[in-house]
Amino acid sequence: MIVMLMRRILLGFITVCLVSIIIFSGIEMLPGDACTQYLGEYQADKELLEQCRKDLDLNRPAHERFREWAGGAMTGDLGMAVDGKTKISTIVGDRVKNSLLLAFCAMLVGIPLALILGIITGLWRDRMPDLVISTLAIFAMTIPEFVSATLLILVFSIWLGWLPGIVLTSASAPISEFFPEILLPVIVLSLVMCAHIMRMVRSSVIDVMSSDYVQMATLKGVPYWQMVFRHALPNALLPAINVVALTIAWLLGGVVVIEVVFNYPGLGRLMIDAISDRDLPVVQSIALIVASIYVCVNLAADLLTMLANPKLRTVYTRK
């Protein structure tokens, strides 16, 4: 098991390294560099361009700069924004905190709800509760987020006036000030993630309920609910861990559209602002952060699965 664990961690690390290479070389491959992009039509001004390149240290060969950037990133130093004055880590720090807050709230609502609904629909498969919930889930999952967000704002903010439809708090404000503004974005996000996870849990429950061991548990006289909780669910929920991880990674990776719709000061909006401003160093940094989060969350899910699944936990596995 230690070997498997090390293997996973090593693979995760390799992935992060690959991502940083892809990001860096991807940006390098774009026509022009951070400065020509940033200055746009002003790049004709040779002096301005030179100054900018000096500020950003763009005159050295790519591999040297990559080594420096990657080395800095490991110690938490992400370099300077394209204006040459602001440290990227300070801009990004608050945004990461805000994105975490949003993701955490959405998870708090979405995951338990998804598990409960998934189990209910799985157990009552093809009957009334399943049909209703599953149909609703398809709607929640497929309607674009900006559409459902828009509709929710229309109903709860404009018509009913219950909740604020837009976040006006600044990025560096303390967590408490984000309430109740954060509620509508949280509702939209948890609906979407809930639908995804629920469908997965449902099909997993259905699979397990038709397994030989559930039939055996029934035929050995185990009462229904005891069978569900002891025999079926521990097995049915194992594969859910990975899907939950993917949705969490998606949440943490900056939910750009939602953040734009609600004007929420998270990583996603920073990303879109940086892209609009053509601030390539910031874009690079965000990409690296988001990718690392993705890898870490998936790694955590793998480890959790390994711990929860006796087949992976015990060493002497038969084929």
Binding site: T15, L30, I143, F146, L151, M200, T247, V256, V290, V295
Partner: protein, 293 residues
């Protein structure tokens, strides 16, 4: 041991699957929604009551009435006509990009799944690395640099949405490859191409078809999200995402502006998803098991 399954004779599989698809309520509804949108996209320029570009300042943000069924937008353009035509660009771009994505992703996935070994390991790490970056970041960097024309969007969408297909195709290949008929073909000495084409592809195709349908709906989602954010279709071309974005600002006093495009866009994406669901069931694949990457 007796099993409660009907013994069905599949003479013409495509036909059987289609029949099964249509016999399910979700399939019937989904397929008709998709067909409706496709037909509409083709004929809308001929049936739209007004020119989508025509601005009329008297009509600015006017409410729906008998003449302008869905009212007019902030520039006084007829919302109904714009809604009718708002899906054309999206369907054109995604309609071309989806097959491209499935083909290149599917081919690479099957090939590396078959070859296996260290090369396959390396490829999977690269795929992982690609997937760990949010789609919107990848798309936006390209769009900001090269513009958002059709010629940019189609290859870009096809490329980025083909990457996850590699994973699906590879997993499906791994399932098939362990089966004896592939061993048997190998033992007879068939070439690798022949094994991919004759043995693997027909069996992986089901998974790829369902995957393709899903990719399509996600691409549409991406396309309209980009338009919504202002990075997609350029005005005055009508597009649902852009229309919703424009009308949002006036939602407090002219909420009708969002209704048309919201219904149109949602019904198309729901239609595709219902079809994909029913298709997966008809083919005997469980779609919900897959993670939404």
């Amino acid at each position: 041991m007796a099993q409660a399954i009907t013994h069905q004779f599949e003479k013409n599989r495509a036909l059987t699957v289609l029949k099964d698809l249509v016999s399910r309520p979700s399939g019937a509804i989904g397929l008709s929604l998709v067909m409706f949108h496709l037909v509409l996209a083709i004929i809308s320029p001929y049936i739209a009551p007004y020119d989508y570009k025509l601005q009329n300042s008297y009509l600015m943000l006017s409410a729906p009435d008998a003449v302008h069924w869905l009212g007019a937008d902030h520039l006084g353009r007829d919302v109904f006509s714009r809604t009718l035509m708002g899906g054309r660009e999206a369907l054109l771009v995604t309609g071309i990009a989806t097959p491209l994505a499935v083909i290149w992703g599917g081919f690479i996935g099957i090939l590396f799944g078959l070859v296996g070994g260290r090369l396959d390991e390396v490829l999977m790490r690269v795929v992982d690395a690609f997937l760990s970056l949010p789609w919107i970041l990848k798309m936006l960097v390209i769009i900001v640099t090269f513009g958002s024309g059709t010629a940019v969007l189609i290859p870009t969408l096809a490329f980025f949405y083909g990457v996850p297909v590699i994973r699906i195709a590879r997993a499906a290949t791994h399932d098939v490859i362990a089966r004896d008929f592939v061993w048997s073909a190998k033992a007879r000495g068939h070439s690798r191409i022949s094994i991919i084409w004759r043995e693997l592809l027909p069996n992986v195709l089901d998974a790829l078809m369902v995957e393709g349908a899903m990719r399509w709906s996600w691409m549409l989602l991406a396309f309209s999200s980009l338009s919504f954010l202002g990075f997609g279709v350029s005005p005055p071309t009508p597009d649902w995402g852009l229309m919703i974005s424009d009308a949002r600002g006036f939602m407090s006093f002219a909420p009708w502006g969002v209704i048309g495009p919201v219904i149109a866009l949602s019904s198309l994406i729901i239609g595709i998803n219902l079809t994909a669901d029913a298709l997966a069931k008809a083919l005997g694949i469980d779609r919900a098991q897959k993670a939404p990457v």
